[in-house]
Structures are given as structure tokens and as C-alpha cells.
Subunit: 342 residues, 2 copies
């Protein structure tokens, strides 16, 4: 599936020689063949790109993202010629008004909650001997989320209306606020605190890293959605957020826990970083952004197993999941979320 | 409405200082405030752009296009946050299956044919004394197109099906092949010949200039379509061309004659260019591309009057026309084509 080029440093420039990208950074030159690249991400300002590099990216169907240094992408570059047909998007719009949309929302949310519970149990395993009290609280939270999943299964509707949306959003919010984020907070190393999610302009290192990670995940998912011929703006669960890529946000729900949340707990624990080493005032330091992108990329290329026994790289799981959404919308095949083994 | 920055020369680079774009070309530096720019177009290779320039463009909602030197855009850069709502695109998809789509196709084609006839009459005016024989043939062609418009008015259908499409495409092809392009050919200065339209990789100067002009027109229209919240890929007349911006192609139909065809006849006549001065082997010379972009931009900013007495810049007419399509799709308001006075 190729690798990602993340350009976070100051003064970096991306150019071209024949069919390879040249990365000029700190007086060094790196060469990477275009056929091995799966996306290009510019993070932060103070960089340049040659038009030939943009043309080479398009020739190889490599999407190019431009993001703030906090990971929030503000622009995307895609080929003028679209993939897929209008047929897929037409099916996507029609699904919103019938039970196909309802089933997709329930499938995605079930996947999200099961991945939350499984991630908590994953950390419970390693804590049950070393920190039995903490482990007990984790276990209780995982059980509580399982109970909410059962409630989700009792909800039905013939279309996505405000009553349906209110019910599922309520269950999602209870899982997140009462059980998932409190567990996440317990798993952070000493020195880090986490009270609640702060989305734009987070100044605390944990929220800033979560936002960076979700920004990177967004770029992985939006690429698959656009190349899959789906309309990124026409979502189901997040349908009310006009102007945002609500379908991408929907699809991210199943992947946030294992792609981003787990990575952050792991990195903060293993690297023994102190909060002040991460932030430079209200922003994540450039070196930390670069390090995080590298770790994220390694995770995307690592093999994970889901509850169906499918062994794939994380990138492969995301790609397979977008295909499942398409088959659900076009062929009414029952949507099956991707749940990772703990 | 601001102006366009066309970057066609070799070695040009686009950078930023505060809220202005800096254009470095041939050792010179040009400064233009971002608030005055309405789009940025890179034509051909051998150039560069700073990430800060891309960020400034996005901040001011300025689309950035990357085109081959022949004018064909291969990539577009747009903000991640979309304008408009899913509602518009939903209406667009629904219109395809009912008479709303049929009326739009008929309106657009009527507009196209009337603009063809009017452009021929526009040139007839100036030729009727100096070249009466040629003028007579022009007049006959304009009359023949008017006759085809009357035929178009007798076509009806409750949806866009293959029978309807075949009928309208047949009338469109007869107008183009038998009357419009033969008139266009008669209007070219000596030394230029035009047998038929050649779309990609045209090697003769007239087709190469037409392709360049339509490429520039495409960028004007796609910008309005995307910012208007419409799906550029879901067209009506050109619906069968999957993977292409078929709605943009539909909307271009009314504007090709007065934006591009007229400009080419004018430029070739006034500038007294010889064919070999235009082409450099199979490509248009860089200086000619630059000159053409400048003339195109002047035309876009010039005032034209349509048959409803509306005086607007050409850019204003295009923008108004996209709004009319939206009102037709969303509010079922009868679509009214934009026909220019001869």
C-alpha cells in the first residue's frame, strides 16, 4: 500500500527527479520512488513544493494534504478526474431516507463501542497484576460499555429521524463521558491529566495529541472515501454537521480507539515524555509532530487482527471497511463493523 | 470579483508576505493582495509554490488549479470545509429522474444554440459589406441553427432517458457539425485552417487554442459549481461520461461561444499571428499561453449584455447562471439560459 511522506520541519521542500520525489530538509536530500508513496502531508508553514512534484503525485494518484501543525487538514489536492460513478453517490443519498442508513449508523456505533470496550480490556490485561485497583475500575467500565451496546441493539427505526438520532447519540455520549474517557484518563502516565475532550485549539498536550492523531486518521479515511466514489460530505450519524466531511467522521468512529487513543497512551508511557517536552506554548513542538507522524505511519503499516480473524495492516482494514460501506449502500449487504481483538 | 493569477512562465514561484501573494518571475517581484485574487492557475511545469501561499489562498477561499500547458487542469485545491449543504446535491440527484432534469437540458441546449447563432450574426454584421459572399453563408448558417432550435422546442420527456438523450444529442451535433464549426472556420484569418474539433493532444493551433480556452473556462465554472454546493460529477446532458465533471461540462455549453470561440477569432485577426508563431512543435508556446490567459482574464472582467438586458461582467454572468441552476433544482424555478446580444 506504500508509505506516507510527512513534511513537518521548517524549510523543507518537495521536488522531483524523474519518477521520484526529492525531499530537501536540513541540508539533506532524500529520494523516494513515487510508486511507493500512498499520500503526502504537509504539516505547518515555512515549506515549499514544486509544481512538478504536484504533477507527479497526481500522475500516481497520490493525494496531497495541507494541514496546520496541529494536524487539522485545511486543504486537499485531488485529481480532476474522479473515480467511481455517480451511481455510488446516488445510492448513498437514497440510503439516508430508509433503513439502510439506520443499519449503517447502528453498525458503526456498535463497532465504536465494542472497540472502546476492547481497548479498555487490552490495557486491563497488562494492569491486572501491577495495579489491581485500577484494573478493576477498567473492567467495570468495559462491562458498562457492553451493557450500552445491548441497549443499542434494541433501537430500531425505518429511517434516520430526530428521535432515532437522539436515542443513539445519547448512548454514544454515555459510553464516552461516563466510561471510555475516564478509563483513558486512568491509563495516562503521572504528570498528564485529562478532564474532557477539547477539540479545536486544545492547549493541553493530551487533547493536542488526540487532535493531531484524529487529523492524520481523517486523511487516511477521506482518501479511501473519495477514491471510492462516495460523497465525503453526506454522512449518516454526523449528518447534521453541514460543511464538514460527515461521512468521513462516521467512518472514523470505529478506528479512533485503536489508531489514535492507544498510540497516545503507548507513546506517553514508553517515551517517558514530560508535558513541557511536548508543547511549545499552545502548540505541539515540531519535533514531536514529526515523531508522532512517524509512529502513526508505523502503526498504519502494522498488522492487526479483528474479531473475524482477518489479519491486515491497519491501512488495509480501513480500506476494507470503506468497501463494506459501499457494498452496504449499493448491494444492501449487511454492514459489519471492524472490531479489533484485545 | 477579483482577478486571476495565471502562472505560465518557466521558473516562476508564488510566495507570501503577510496577506499578499508575491510572484517571482524573471528576476522581478510582483505583489498582489489576497483579497483581490479570485483564482490561481499554474500552467505547465518548472515552477514552485510555498505552503504559506497555499494556506493564504485557502484562508481567502481562492481555488488553486494545476493545469498542463495546454490548459487542461489535472488537479484542483479546495478547502476541506465545504460550502453549501447536502440538500443541494440531493435535489440535483433527484432532478435526474424527473422532468426537472429534462427542462434543464433543454434550457442549456437552447442557450447553446442561440449563442452559436448570435455569435455567427455578430460576425456577419462586420462582414456584410467587406465580404458579402461570406456574410451570406454566415447568415444561412445562423438561420439553419434557428430552425434547429425550433425542433428542440418540440421535444418533451418525463425524464432523461436514452431516447430523449439521442434526440437532443442529434440536434446538437447537426448544429455543430453542419452550421456552427463551418462558420467558425470561415471566420479564421488566411493561413489558418479548421476541419473539425480535436480534443486531447490537438497539434493544430486552432484546436490547441480552443482546448486551452475551454480549460480556462472549465476552471471558472467548476469554482462556482463547487462553491455553490453542487456535485460537479453529476451532470444531465453529459451524464454518461463517468469520471468527468459532467455538470461543469453542461454549464459550459452556453458560454463556450462568447468566452472562447469569439476570443480566438478576435485574437488571430487582431494580433496577426502566424500558425508557426503559436506552436512550438505539438505545444502552444509559453508566451502565447501567457498572452492568451491575459486576454481571457480581460474578457472575463468585461461587461456583456444578455437578451434580458442584464449588464454584467462575463464572470458575473457565469456566477448568476450557476445560481439559476440551483434555483431550478431546489425551487423548481424555470431555467432561463444566458444568451448574449449580437
Amino acid at each position: 500500500m506504500g508509505e506516507s511522506i510527512y513534511l513537518a520541519g521548517f524549510g523543507v521542500s518537495l521536488r522531483v527527479k524523474k519518477n521520484s520525489f526529492l525531499i530537501f530538509a536540513d541540508g539533506n536530500k532524500d529520494t523516494i520512488s513515487a510508486s511507493k508513496v500512498q499520500k503526502i502531508v504537509f504539516l505547518g508553514s515555512g515549506k515549499g513544493v514544486s509544481i512538478d512534484a504536484i504533477r507527479l503525485a497526481i500522475k500516481y494518484r497520490i493525494p496531497v494534504f495541507f494541514a496546520y501543525s496541529n494536524g487539522y487538514p485545511y486543504a486537499m489536492l485531488f485529481p480532476v478526474v474522479a473515480v467511481g460513478t455517480v451511481k455510488t453517490r446516488r445510492a448513498q443519498y437514497e440510503a439516508y431516507n430508509c433503513d439502510i442508513g439506520v443499519e449503517l449508523v447502528l453498525g458503526i456505533l456498535k463497532g465504536k463501542l465494542r472497540n472502546q470496550a476492547n481497548l479498555i480490556r487490552f490495557f486491563w490485561k497488562s494492569r491486572k497484576r501491577t495495579a489491581p485497583d485500577l484494573a478493576n475500575r477498567l473492567k467495570e467500565n468495559a462491562e458498562a460499555i457492553k451493557y450500552l451496546i445491548a441497549q443499542l441493539e434494541s433501537i430500531g427505526s425505518d429511517r434516520i429521524d430526530s428521535d432515532f438520532r437522539r436515542k443513539v447519540m445519547n448512548i454514544e455520549a454515555r459510553a464516552a463521558e461516563m466510561h471510555y474517557w475516564p478509563s483513558f484518563s486512568l491509563l495516562l502516565p503521572t504528570g498528564f491529566s485529562f478532564e474532557k475532550r477539547v477539540k479545536p485549539n486544545a492547549k493541553d498536550p493530551v487533547n493536542a495529541l488526540l487532535n493531531l492523531g484524529y487529523g492524520l486518521l481523517f486523511m487516511e479515511v477521506v482518501k479511501e472515501v473519495i477514491y471510492g466514489g462516495l460523497d465525503p460530505y453526506a454522512g449518516f450519524l454526523h449528518a447534521d454537521r453541514s460543511g464538514r466531511e460527515s461521512l468521513v467522521l462516521d467512518l472514523m468512529e470505529e478506528f479512533r480507539q485503536w489508531c489514535v487513543d492507544r498510540l497516545i497512551i503507548k507513546l506517553l508511557s514508553i517515551r517517558k515524555l514530560r508535558p513541557e517536552e511536548i508543547m511549545d506554548g499552545p502548540k505541539i513542538r515540531r519535533e514531536i509532530v514529526g515523531m508522532f507522524c512517524k509512529e502513526f505511519e508505523d502503526m498504519m503499516g502494522s498488522v492487526f487482527v479483528n474479531t473475524y480473524g482477518e489479519k491486515r495492516t491497519m491501512r488495509g482494514h480501513i480500506s476494507a471497511q470503506v468497501l463494506r460501506v459501499k457494498r452496504h449502500l449499493l448491494e444492501k449487504e449487511k454492514y459489519r463493523p471492524c472490531i479489533f481483538m484485545w
